[in-house]
């Protein structure tokens, strides 16, 4: 209502700026209300914020050096000195879990940064040009989609050699087809809009149309998909670590730590279980947050 009234006022730059600022503030406020209404999303967001804070302040939170082996102190149960106990090499599991947050975030962020733009480009190109290009790119994506993500990631990680960097590449390779399909579907629905025809009739090149007018329309669904995928990415990374194809010892990676504790699972449950819990909680946090983001970005719910 306020904006409608303002129309009648004569234009002045300050008013316009404050109007735009108001609109932005309103949007943020609405988002905040939607966020607060969804309890699960609040929980998810808090978990992720907590994860980020832990990763950022790992050196302050850790009580021990995560790499330090005190062999006479191995397989100690959780205690006041060592909250999560020690593993078979006498390393403090609590400190390793704390540092593991860094590795997990590092992998998740890099996979997102590699696979989403790649999938986006492939999908937009396929959807925009259609025909043979579409056919080739999408059949290529189908090849990747034909295998379960973890299997594919394992295969690539094995082929590339073990290591965090290669695990990131392997997971990205397994991940991009989902984004490509999504971007293609969005592109197909945007492509035939009249305003795209108008832009073309103005002499815009294909590149310009794709970058300036189609890609922005695909971003929101990709963001939602990505936030829902984050959990799977972390799970896959942990899986690779567990299988020995991801992070290599002595890196404090959660999947690797779960794997380390396997042989002591019956008598020294804390070695595997506590890093496992960390994975569980973080994956759940990302999934809850992803669901919520979908709702917040959905204009119908506003």
């Amino acid at each position: 209502m306020r904006t409608l009234l303002n129309v009648t006022k004569t234009f002045d730059k300050k008013a316009a700026r404050s109007q735009r600022w108001d609109a932005r503030k309103r949007y943020l406020k609405d988002s905040y209300i939607l966020w607060r209404r969804n309890r699960l999303m609040v929980a998810g967001t808090l978990i992720i914020v907590f994860l980020i804070l832990v990763a950022a302040f790992a050196p302050l939170l850790a009580t021990h050096d995560p790499y330090e082996q005190i062999l006479h102190n191995r397989l100690e149960p959780p205690s006041i000195q060592q909250y999560f106990g020690t593993d078979n090499l006498g390393r403090d599991i609590y400190s390793r879990v704390i540092y593991g947050a860094r590795v997990t975030l590092f992998i998740a962020i890099l996979v997102a940064a590699i696979s989403t733009p790649f999938g986006l480009v492939i999908g937009v190109v396929a959807g925009y040009f259609g025909g043979l290009i579409d056919e080739i790119l999408m059949r290529l994506a189908d090849v990747f989609l034909a295998f379960p993500k973890l299997i594919l990631a394992v295969a690539f990680a094995a082929a590339l050699g073990a290591g965090v960097e290669n695990a990131i590449i392997a997971i990205s390779v397994a991940n991009w087809p989902g984004y490509a399909r999504l971007a293609r579907a969005d592109t197909l629905s945007v492509r035939n809009n009249d305003y795209i025809q108008v832009i073309r009739s103005m002499g815009a090149s294909n590149l310009r149309v794709m970058l300036g007018h189609i890609t922005p329309m695909c971003i929101s669904s990709i963001v939602v998909r990505l936030s829902l995928d984050m959990g799977v990415i972390i799970l896959t990374a942990a899986g690779l670590g567990f299988l020995g194809l991801g992070a290599q010892p002595p890196m404090p990676e959660w999947g690797l730590m779960v794997s380390d504790g396997r042989q002591f699972l019956v008598n020294q449950w804390w070695i595997s279980s506590l890093p496992g819990f960390a994975i569980l909680i973080v994956v759940m946090g990302f999934n809850l947050m992803g669901d919520g983001i979908r709702d917040i970005l959905d204009p119908h719910l506003r």
Binding site: T10, F11, A16, R20, G131, N193, D194, Y195, Q197, V198, I199, R200, S201, M202, G203, A204, S205, R208, G212, H213, P216, M217
Partner: protein
């Protein structure tokens, strides 16, 4: 031809390869537009007006294909240009206004930026700030009050008339030589139509732009156009100066079309409608397509394609009724069946 010829379309033939068969969308579209003049392209829905417009900009997407013909723009054949040259012509030399402003503007880009985009597409050296300034100036010229503020709006915040003004600004900001207006006012309120047409006329006159006005509204045509070309089922059946065609229509179709306009002076007169239906464009063109609906139909109309007879310098018509009254238009070979490539 006159020295001030800007665009001439000659025997344009466009087919669409659809699943239902070959659609003969355009068969023999010929017309010309002089500099600083307005040509109206009339005809009922589906006769190929919009396809013609798109063909000129070479924006026919598969399954459509331009089979043959020439489109000469300032002496250059547009159909012979490469993609980059064609892209340069679009927007900077020839612009097109679409029917529906609401869906022709990008919903997520501020309208001012869209107007500026046209400039940026064609001038890489231009920076965004000065492009925006020019855009605002253009919007102001179109009678948009408080253009700076409006330029920051999104398409959905504007009324239809305002949206169409933005479209016109977008298309004229580069000062093109030809403006193709594809039914620019049919989506607007009647009360706004006049304003928009007037604005378009004034601006195109100022800039010196020729206009190809596509419309099925003959009143609009009478008001704004210098020349008229009447299309029927993919063929231009009559072309001439607006007063000649509207006052003395020659082709039976044009005559019937003019009769369909309701007479506002006489409420009791029954409305006139042309009998029969628009022919299917799936069938090949072997005879006069208007023959089944024509009041003057002769045997010959069902067997042959009528050539275009030039009645005088400013009037030509494709109908056997006028055989012997004028020369057959242009070079005769264009009426031979062109072998499809």
């Amino acid at each position: 031809m006159a020295a001030d010829l800007l665009l001439s379309v000659k025997d344009l033939k466009v087919y669409f390869y659809t699943l239902r068969g070959l659609v003969h969308a355009l068969e023999r579209v010929s017309f010309y537009v002089n500099r600083q003049e307005t040509l109206g392209l009339a005809g009922e829905t589906g006769c190929g007006k919009s396809v013609t417009a798109r063909s000129i900009l070479r924006l026919i997407d598969p399954p459509g294909r331009i089979m043959s013909g020439n489109i000469f723009f300032e002496g250059r054949d547009l159909l012979a240009l490469n993609k980059a040259e064609m892209r340069h012509i679009r927007g900077s030399q020839i612009s097109m206004i679409m029917q529906e402003p609401k869906i022709s503007l990008n919903p997520v880009i501020r309208v001012g930026d869209q107007v500026a985009e046209t400039l940026l597409v064609h001038d890489r050296s231009l920076n965004r700030r000065s492009a925006r300034k020019q855009a605002v100036d253009m919007l102001a010229q179109l009678g948009i009050p408080d253009a700076t503020r409006i330029s920051r709006r999104y398409a959905h915040e504007l009324s239809g008339g305002m949206g169409q003004r933005v479209m016109i600004a977008m298309m004229l900001v580069t000062r093109p030589k030809l403006l193709i207006a594809d039914e620019p006012t049919s989506a607007l309120d009647v009360s706004v139509q006049g304003q928009i047409l007037e604005l378009m006329q004034k601006l195109t006159k100022d800039i010196g732009t020729s206009v190809l006005m596509i419309t099925h509204d003959l009143a609009v045509m009478a008001q704004t156009c210098d020349w008229v070309a009447v299309m029927y089922a993919g063929d231009v059946i009559e072309m001439g100066l607006v007063r000649d065609v509207l006052k003395h229509p020659q082709h039976p179709y044009t005559q019937d079309l003019l009769k369909t306009i309701p007479d506002k002076g006489n409420p009791n007169e029954p409305l006139y409608s042309i009998k029969g239906n628009v022919p299917s464009l799936l069938e090949p063109w072997t005879n006069c397509r208007y023959a089944p609906r024509c009041n003057y139909v002769m045997d010959r109309c069902k067997r042959e394609i009528p050539p275009r007879y030039v009645l005088n310098k400013s009037h030509q018509v494709a109908c056997f009724l006028y055989e012997g009254q004028g020369e057959i238009e242009m070079d005769k070979e264009c009426f031979k069946e062109t072998a499809s490539p």
